[in-house]
């Protein structure tokens, strides 16, 4: 009888705990849902082909779009990838595969500190490093700022993914007389590739929306991108500029720009999940 009571009590407690978990999850999801709902409802009406392909119109003229900012954002992400990915993947490989305790510890600490540095500070740093020395704002400076921003994420993800590759595979490869560097490139990195690519896509999604570091580096532009050494428009900066402006149709465009940005980020992160899922199935 006492037992029955205890069991009922236990069931009640576990039921309650379950309910709380569900509730907490729902509460956590509410902001995301609201953001998505709001961005879609506000942005969709202003989203059209012109918006995606046209240059901004001067104040007072209606129409025009953010084509240059979309291209500019892609350009900045591209530069960041070209600069940041090789460095990040190499650093992560170093951390995982060349286990010299003292140096690895230092590099890991630096990476963790770097990932905690506010992005605006990285913008200021690149401003001093590239903008002041080159004497003007440039796409290159913007891309480098974003590259620095994604560096720690890429390095640590690469490291973690490489560490997940069992040592038995390293040994299998080395025992065949395959040299160390070849083992790392063709066996270890390849085996961990799905995870690394997922990490890279998430890092790209993360920097796609960065605004602060671009204000000091890529600045903005109302024309199509003309070169690496020229200022370039980007979606986040354009959204920022339009959103704080006093013009109603610029607000509309800011919403549409937000929607495009959200779609880009979602494509990257959902794409990475799908890719990783497929990759994992093929390992098993």
């Amino acid at each position: 009888m006492n037992n029955g009571f205890n069991r009922r009590r236990r069931n009640a407690i576990s039921g309650l705990a379950y309910l709380l978990c569900v509730l907490a999850t729902i509460i956590a999801l509410i902001p995301l849902m609201l953001i998505l709902f709001y961005v879609i409802s506000q942005g969709a009406p202003a989203l059209n082909l012109d918006f995606l392909t046209q240059l901004p119109k001067p104040v007072g003229e209606t129409g025009g779009g953010m084509g240059n900012a979309i291209v500019g954002s892609l350009m900045l992400i591209g530069i960041a990838a070209v600069v940041g990915l090789p460095l990040g993947v190499l650093a992560g490989t170093y951390l995982a595969e060349f286990r010299s305790p003292r140096l690895s510890w230092t590099v890991r600490l630096l990476a963790d500190i770097l990932s905690g540095v506010p992005s605006i500070i990285i913008g200021v740093f690149v401003y001093t490093l590239l903008v002041l020395t080159m004497k003007h704002f440039s796409a290159l400076a913007g891309g480098v700022a974003l590259a620095i921003l994604m560096l720690p994420t890429v390095a640590r993800t690469t490291e973690e993914m490489l560490r997940m590759v069992p040592d038995t595979l390293r040994e299998a490869s080395l025992a065949l007389g395959i040299p160390r560097w070849r083992t790392i490139v063709s066996i270890i990195i390849k085996t961990a590739g799905g995870g690394i690519i997922t990490g890279i896509m998430l890092a790209l999604a993360r920097i796609a929306g960065e605004t602060a570091p671009l204000l000091f580096t890529a600045l903005s532009s109302r024309t199509w991108p003309t070169g690496l050494d020229k200022p370039v428009a980007s979606l986040p900066v354009q959204i920022y500029t339009y959103a704080i402006s006093p013009y109603e149709d610029w607000h509309q465009q800011a919403w549409a720009g937000s929607l495009v940005l959200v779609i880009m980020v979602l494509l990257l992160s959902v794409g990475s999940k799908l890719y990783f899922g497929r990759k994992m199935r093929s390992v098993r």
Partner: protein, 259 residues
């Protein structure tokens, strides 16, 4: 002879831990040599010293000589990758490369260790190695399937084929059947019997019957007191070790009184 390995006073450590000490043995070419002894007596460590895999463990060290093909593999001018190409290894747990197909697993050593071959030579090498490992008939219609899709016993034979493909002189096997069922074990023992003509095989085994069945020579290793390194107690033709060993400890171990 290319397939023989002689160790002189070989000792190995893991940092402060002395794992094996003073092992001198002459492994005869084109014979199967079994290494037996209780758990932790240093069989794996000894085996891994023979193809310079031991040094991959951080802090690991060796002293003494391992003479193979007329030179000490620990001499400063000897490249560990060359040693490992000539002295292959099969591990306790089958470890095929999970993302590679069966065929690519077998040709991995050829493709990645520098020797570029044309496609048909590669295919020949794959077929030859799989036949030697008695796996060809079971996989010839699914060579492009991932290696991980095979059963445990098949995976282990795939690993044997992979080791054979680079044409080593010697194959080291560390308890290759301990994770396998009797039928798969039987297949691997048959394979070893076939390989003997062209390869020197050193096998670590926990299974006395297996040592008796497959080996021509047997070495018995033992840690005499806890904390002491493992030493080679006795080494000789398997028939002698199993019927009239010189040492009491060997007899006790073989008749199952300890270990």
């Amino acid at each position: 002879m290319a397939g023989s390995i002689t160790t002189n006073n070989l000792s190995a450590t893991f940092g402060e831990v002395r794992a094996i000490e003073g092992i001198s043995i002459e492994i005869i070419a084109n014979k199967v040599t079994a290494l037996i002894g209780p758990s932790g007596c240093g069989k794996s460590t000894f085996l891994r010293c023979l193809n310079r895999m031991h040094e991959l463990v951080p802090g690991a060290g060796t002293t003494g000589e391992v003479i193979w093909d007329g030179r000490n593999i620990y001499a400063p001018d000897v490249d560990a990758t060359d040693v490992r190409r000539g002295i292959g290894m099969v591990f306790q747990k089958p470890n095929p490369f999970p993302l590679m197909s069966i065929a690519d697993n077998v040709s991995a050593g050829l493709r990645l260790a520098g020797s570029k071959r044309n496609k048909s030579a590669m295919e020949e090498a794959v077929e030859r190695s799989l036949r030697l490992a008695a796996l060809w008939d079971e996989v010839k219609n699914k060579l492009h399937k991932p290696g991980g899709s095979l059963s445990g016993g098949q995976q282990q034979r795939l690993c044997i084929a992979r080791a054979l493909a680079v044409e080593p002189d010697v194959i080291l096997m560390d308890e290759p059947c301990s994770a396998l069922d009797p039928a798969s074990t039987q297949k691997i023992e048959d394979t070893m019997d076939k390989l003997k003509d062209n390869y020197t095989i050193v096998i670590v085994t926990h299974n006395m019957q297996q040592a008796g069945r497959v080996s021509d020579f047997t070495g018995f290793l033992l840690t005499q007191e806890s904390g002491e390194p493992g030493r080679l107690i006795e080494y000789g033709p398997t028939s002698k070790i199993f019927t009239m060993p010189d040492h009491k400890e060997t007899e006790n171990y073989i008749t199952g009184r300890f270990g």
